[in-house]
Symmetry: D2
Subunit: 297 residues, 4 copies
């Protein structure tokens, strides 16, 4: 298929490469052009502007930093939405707000285009290895049309429903559940550390028994060893997603006190200078509150 791909950050580059590898005809755009040029070796064409990238596209995929970036590139007067051909499909893969997902759906409808929400779970290494989990939502025929794309980039695709925005809700809840894992590990580690036990040993017991999901191992190891500097996903992005889930919760009138608590820890982490660290560094706030100093991440 003729695919325009906009946004080549840590996640986007890996995804775009896998699409090229699967034989799709790719035109790519990235604000920092050098990252787009790197895709030439995979056979991609590089566009000068987002609008140019989509002008013959059957599909445009966006993988952008936040709501504002999507609004500026897609919804702006003269933007992607005006350049994209009728009948084409916009697949939004980045983690955006439920509210923006709804606006995109109705905007594309006005322009006789289609909109599929398909956020993904996985860190950059999973994106590179085509091991993402894709959570897609759209009417069945559209999903069907996009299936080859999902298969090229992920290990599994889940259909969340026919209403695109629900995929965003699922993604945001999933990210919230990860932060709950991080915070529960942080509080437990603080207690076992102050009780004289190595948190790595505690983690080993937990992951070998009840908490066998890899996510406990991945984040638990980073937190037990206080290695936050190699940021797969930066802390301010964690705060951003926390605010998005709380915004969705507010619109739906759902109190999420655990999400609120974690959000305050993210804010504390930013206030204390951890903006360049991995989002798992939010655990350091719990450690500091317990009077534990970092080992030196």
């Amino acid at each position: 298929m003729k695919i325009a791909f906009i946004g080549l950050g840590n996640m986007g580059s890996g995804i775009a490469r896998n699409l090229a590898k699967a034989g799709h005809q790719l035109t790519v755009y990235n604000r920092t052009r050098s990252r787009a040029e790197e895709l030439r070796s995979s056979g991609a064409t590089v566009a000068d502007t987002p609008e140019q990238s989509v002008k013959d596209a059957e599909i445009v995929i966006t993988m952008l930093a936040d709501d504002r970036a999507v609004e500026n590139i897609v919804l702006w007067k003269g933007g992607v939405i005006e350049a994209l051909p009728e009948g084409a499909v916009h697949i939004s893969m980045s983690t955006i707000s439920v509210a923006l997902s709804k606006r995109l759906e109705s905007a594309h409808k006005q322009f006789k285009q289609h909109y599929v929400s398909a956020p993904v779970f996985g860190r950059p290494d999973a994106a590179a290895a085509a091991k993402l989990f894709v959570v897609a939502a759209a009417p069945a025929d559209l999903i069907h049309r996009c299936q080859p794309i999902f298969e090229a980039i992920g290990q599994k695709t889940f259909i969340a429903g026919t209403d695109p925005a629900i995929a965003n809700t699922v993604k945001l809840c999933g990210n919230f559940m990860i932060t709950a894992v991080i915070e529960s590990l942080a509080e437990s580690f603080a207690l076992v550390r102050k009780s004289g036990m190595d948190p790595n040993q505690f983690l080993d017991i937990m992951t070998s028994s009840l908490f066998s999901a890899p996510i406990y191992k991945t984040y638990g190891t980073m937190i037990a060893q206080e290695k936050y500097k190699n940021a797969g996903f930066k802390l301010p992005l964690g705060l951003k997603d926390n605010r998005l889930v709380l915004a969705a919760a507010q619109d739906a009138a759902v109190p999420m006190p655990m999400a609120s608590l974690i959000g305050d820890h993210f804010l504390a982490a930013i206030a204390q200078g951890m903006s360049e660290w991995d989002w798992s560094a939010v655990a350091a706030i719990t450690f500091r509150n317990a009077g534990l100093d970092e080992a030196g991440s």
Copy 2:
């Protein structure tokens, strides 16, 4: 080995049966005698009092409801600690406080007996199937002596350290982490439900991707279906364990705000009449706060 087993509730009966099955010579005691009599068919002798049960024992195992029960039976003047032979070992398997574990260790030392802390993870069905996870802590030679017992009742034994009380800390942290899973599911379910999605479908996505640990499936299913009445572990016991982890945290000067938040939900659940329900019913508080009525558990 000659084993005295005290406390034959949902967990204790299964464990005792597996010990009998493994060829150990069992003397059992339970406050409600009928539950002890049921063990005769497995070859156990029934004692009239706790003290009588231990008088020739090499090992005494306690699996009792709470700290008070252990204190009353073991530490009371004229109790088990006075009747147990010198050199014998007390294995405490129930979830008790870190503080009581420390007191037991020093009390047994005075009486020239040994103390092993070995709380277990698993619900009654796991106890019956000898699939428990045992978290043991004591000096190595003692652990070695108890190994055949652990092997007869569990699928895996973890050594938490040489200081018995650390096993209790680990157990309490593990239970806390389960409650964090429950609360994170509850908040997510509330949001997806009010966003128009079946929580079972959401759960299926989560457990098929990032949250593959069985615990998410087990509790997630109960909560998504609001089936709390078949209580494997009653809600007030959940509150009790929450208070024990917070007590340990207080003694160690460790703030655990997520544990505090969950504790307040347990209290609300009890205030609203859920004392006979499974502890996963704490999720109902989150649902009610979101204006969602139960389906009728």
Copy 3:
């Protein structure tokens, strides 16, 4: 002075009347025109549009529901900001976000107009009685120019600084502190009620000793008697202000866990159908969580 007054809700009408009474020449605008017509008897002229109201004004005062209303009326293309004469002053009295206050300041500067932020404390009866507390921020000469207005509507004016937005921060923190009073009363009342004591009696002890500020009496009485239906300030407005203080806190990287907690109670109150009640009804969430039913407010 020639004053345009936009927004004649519960608060605005009282304020406008007091300005008329003080001899100022008033032109008023309100979306629901009937409320504007009521001001004719006080000598005010009624404008058909916001823009018309300001065309000869020396001062325009806005007292509008929320950020969106201010944006739509003032900042919109063709709006008040284009119609207001050079050199005139915009006094924003409603509770708006810190961020909008900053945008207003710079927008008015572009149009060679002045901006004074002057939110007020007090409920509608205080507005009617000219007993408001005004918190104003702007350069000293501007404050000086507005002083006769503040004196006509309030019992006391506080100068928060020269940067207008700081007045909004102060106002939002003040409202947050009121909600902290409400929540602390609610939790205390829940405990004394379940301990067998009349909360009115408890309140009487508290307000006659340490907590003598009228705010404890005002809100305490409403909560102790569960009389929430006579809404001086509706619950969704309380949620709005809570979100505004949390937004300011996020921009400043300040965790405010107590504000977060209270925000979740506001959401629960809305989820449970209390949107028409006074914001003090947030206490009912605490009561319900404690298993206490309302008396029937």
Copy 4:
């Protein structure tokens, strides 16, 4: 009246002196004898043991550090309860648990003695100046009998009910409400400080308008100036009272999430070495979480 007074700390000495000044015949006991000797100049007799102090007493007043101290001195075998004459009254003035208050009531009944619960509000300077607020609970005739004592030490006496334990509930709720004031000030100060405003100025606005109760001024000034070292009431005592209100709340099945949140801040303060500071130093946790360093209290 012949009064035995046990416990001459910061609060007790002031109270005892005022009783002597009012003409009562005092016998005093304190663990650290030197503080008792200081009372001789006020005409008090010094006892060698608590039991000796009460042997001819009509009234015994205890003002002790915590539950354990009261249990050890009053309820112990051979303790005050056995030495106190029949018909005498025990007035417990220190802040103890609701549960202990109930035990004391029934224990004294067994010994044909009377029990009045009469905790007080006020810091040491108020105790010295006979300006305490007394919250008393007991049957009316007993209250009547103790009235001269209350008048000698306080500015006002409140009768909370006929059941003594309710006075303890009231006292604990009052102290909780003070901590809510402290935390609400701390969060507000953090925001205004990071927004560029002097917290003293903010405090001045608040205490001159809605929050006129002296408690806002007293604690607000300490917190705005970060002067915590002159401890009128030490931080661990604040934690103790927080745990007592949460224990009462647990027994009554009342969730108090704000009290839980504050309790976690107290724990953090202790973990971070503030045990010798005034309990208002709990505000420093909020400041640190916001990335604000202390000025150097």
